[in-house]
Subunit: 294 residues, 4 copies
Amino acid sequence: MNIGFVGTGAMGEPMVRNLLQAGHAVTVYNRRAERTQALVEAGALAAASVAEAARQDIVITMLADDRATEALVLDGDFIAAMPAHGLHVCMATIGAALADRLAAAHAAAGTGYVSAPVFGRPPAAAAAQLFIIAAGDAAALDRCQPLFDVLGQRTFRVGDTPSAAHVVKIAGNFMLAALIEAFGEASALTARHGVTPAQFVEVMTNSVFQVPAYRTYGGLIASGRFEPAGFPLRLGLKDIRLALAAADARDVALPLASLVRDHYLKALTRGYAEYDWAALALVSMEDAGAASRG
Amino acid sequence: MNIGFVGTGAMGEPMVRNLLQAGHAVTVYNRRAERTQALVEAGALAAASVAEAARQDIVITMLADDRATEALVLDGDFIAAMPAHGLHVCMATIGAALADRLAAAHAAAGTGYVSAPVFGRPPAAAAAQLFIIAAGDAAALDRCQPLFDVLGQRTFRVGDTPSAAHVVKIAGNFMLAALIEAFGEASALTARHGVTPAQFVEVMTNSVFQVPAYRTYGGLIASGRFEPAGFPLRLGLKDIRLALAAADARDVALPLASLVRDHYLKALTRGYAEYDWAALALVSMEDAGAASRG
Amino acid sequence: MNIGFVGTGAMGEPMVRNLLQAGHAVTVYNRRAERTQALVEAGALAAASVAEAARQDIVITMLADDRATEALVLDGDFIAAMPAHGLHVCMATIGAALADRLAAAHAAAGTGYVSAPVFGRPPAAAAAQLFIIAAGDAAALDRCQPLFDVLGQRTFRVGDTPSAAHVVKIAGNFMLAALIEAFGEASALTARHGVTPAQFVEVMTNSVFQVPAYRTYGGLIASGRFEPAGFPLRLGLKDIRLALAAADARDVALPLASLVRDHYLKALTRGYAEYDWAALALVSMEDAGAASRG
Amino acid sequence: MNIGFVGTGAMGEPMVRNLLQAGHAVTVYNRRAERTQALVEAGALAAASVAEAARQDIVITMLADDRATEALVLDGDFIAAMPAHGLHVCMATIGAALADRLAAAHAAAGTGYVSAPVFGRPPAAAAAQLFIIAAGDAAALDRCQPLFDVLGQRTFRVGDTPSAAHVVKIAGNFMLAALIEAFGEASALTARHGVTPAQFVEVMTNSVFQVPAYRTYGGLIASGRFEPAGFPLRLGLKDIRLALAAADARDVALPLASLVRDHYLKALTRGYAEYDWAALALVSMEDAGAASRG
């Protein structure tokens, strides 16, 4: 299958490598062309323009945020360049409203569109161990499935409406932020009763929470070291904003998400924008006089 | 070793059975004597009074709440009945302030005291798979260790101050309540975007949260059935109150715990006191018009 | 002075009458032309288009929300129609970001712009008792002052940046919503202790809070009657969203505003969109089983 | 009438002076005897013990907090010393639960009890301008009314259950704390948009909030000077705890009170215990990088 791939950053690059390794022809595009060079050496074709990537059978976008996706897909000739049978698969984390606009634009143009965001960080992408949340037309999803099988360990289908997949992804990220918040508050409480964060994290991640998410974020909290960031705090805030926006659009109150958002804003004021998003925990710990930094 | 065991409810009973099976002599006491009959048939000795149980080498208390523990241990002749080398091990979930009072009372009487609350529900108690959080004098903890090895799969020591173990336990329960709250809000969000709670829970518990705690509470949320309760909501509220009290005593703000407390109070008003404490999730889901009950 | 006036609703109409009475020539525009008829009978001139209103010395806009203001001022030929010495005065409640965009558009066109939102409901507008919050170029504000003196009882100048006036207005509305929230929670508490909301409101508004804002909203809470709305709940939510957006743009956490927003969203789910925004109080009262409706 | 008065601090002293001036015989008691000397010089009789004060026709308590009231009234011979027709009037701010215990103890002893807490600071006490919230047996309240008329400008009766009056008082203090919180957040928002707190407070207290409560706390926020304290922050926290306890006892969630409590706890951690309780506003302002201290 001829595949276009737009956005070859920390996540996109290993995904393209896996597609190449599985024998697909992949035409890659990045706004900063130098970002595609290593992939070209690995067998990818370099697109001179985003339209050239869009011209393939299936084009995947894996861009940084809503603005980049909107700029490259909706504002230019991306959709116009797609073939009649073309199918756009957005695998990045974007908001529900933008996913709806993408679906509407493709429907108007007669081109295909599915949402398929993922859970997993770059190492999981490299190991083809992503979890893929997919939604859209069933036949279109069937067409994508062989690619999903190359990229991830499991695909979950959550219905016909593409944006639903993005809402699930956003809701999942909110749950991750919530666990960081809970870990931060709980660590503040135990620290003020004489138990170090390292001790507390050791207990929790070896008893009730023996799962990578808790181990990763608990480990950061225990160490007090939040740089370099695996996922920067400012992007964590972006995702919480997406959750609140998707909720607001359906009159849903998410008080815990509001709390997390407020703590992220305080973290920005304290200068933690580029820390790992687990530094959310610092806000509660500092406010309790319980933070010791690594 | 001669062991006294006070409180033979859903948790205490299987713990006593494991101690008996390991060859210990166990003198059991329950305020409702009929609750000890089955254990006596299994080889336990029935204490005629709580003092008789306290008279053993080590006496474990596993009572429902602070009030019961205070009434049986502090208000009566429990401590006076203990031998000079006696050691009291409180394995129930009690507040930090009460644990401090127990420690002080034992110190005044010259008797030993350690805190050793547990993570795990009755099936884990039966399977000797509890996680035990222990704190107190190191020599006293060493004396208890053979019993802990019979009762649990792992013991974590968190220092010399007994109440610290209870704070860790309380903080852990707060983290569990926080995950229920997050699951409830996230399910409300996704439900209002067309994804059923069952679908959402299926995704999350088979991707980022592959761990029993999320599976148990997610399963309850997905089914919408909260009776019979594994752990009743009113006791979940009790534990959150213990967390807030332990925090308040050290000037620590726990905004997420406050949020959970408020939602538990609303759940009481809605008549959910005897539902499983996962029914916390119902508050956010109902408030968003997103609850469908099993 | 020749004045254009765009938006002749519940607030705009009495403001135009006061301007006419003071001897000004007022050219009025409303998207629904029938809304200007009574004013024409009172001496106003009817503009055939919004551009005709914009062509006057000073043009005041008093439109329902950001969308209407953006559509009429930024998307059309409003600014192009203004004379070289023209001055646009936005007296409606709009967001800080839109005020900044208006200021930038006028600066680019060489036309004048000031922000001058008001505190006060329609009866205050009719009685020329508005409080006017004004910001912008000092000379431009001086030109407006005679009009402000006709329309209000007092003008407060808050600096050179027009959007600052809108932020003050939005912050003030947030403080009003906060008092409603506080009144609702306090009424829930006292009601559950046997004091009726009417009794409680009577005490508070005749002791520490002897001021119209508390009397108005307390009276609504005491009566339990929220229709017809003086200011509908959905617009109250809109203003809280503007506060959160203005805060978010400067990395400011407003946890109380987040709480109010969440309660407004719950009120929408309960069907209170067209109730007076004081029905915010119902959420806490209902959640406590303490609401009795009028 | 022979009056006993227990607690002659900043509030109690001017109240006693007003009672003396009205011609009453007042027997005063303070745990620190030197605190009554000036009153004795003004005509009061010094009680050698709290029982001597309790022996009068009506005995008023005006003590610092629940602990002091419990210690002097419930733990000693206060009630036993009261004559058969004796009547105890608690005018201090105490919790609902303690008021219920006082009522029960008096009922058991056959002595009278009413709750009559007040709104007003020491200058209002001196000027006999207090607002008195009274609850209890109607005949007992009638007996007290002449004293209330001497002490305050107006008495509000809120029913037969004494604790109801204390709940109203506590709810009122919560509303005051809520306005401080709102003022703090709003000031943070406007400050970050270039409007100084002094400007913002000037606008609000001369437009929608022309009332002493807003002027007092707004003035403190504008000045950034929170010492010396009119009412220290740690006592503000105490009162919020009383509100949360009274709410908790009736399953009422007060999310705004929880938020205020959490911010007070953070203020303690920052060292503001002895600042005026308006320093609650500092938490939000500092968290937004918007605090400038006087």
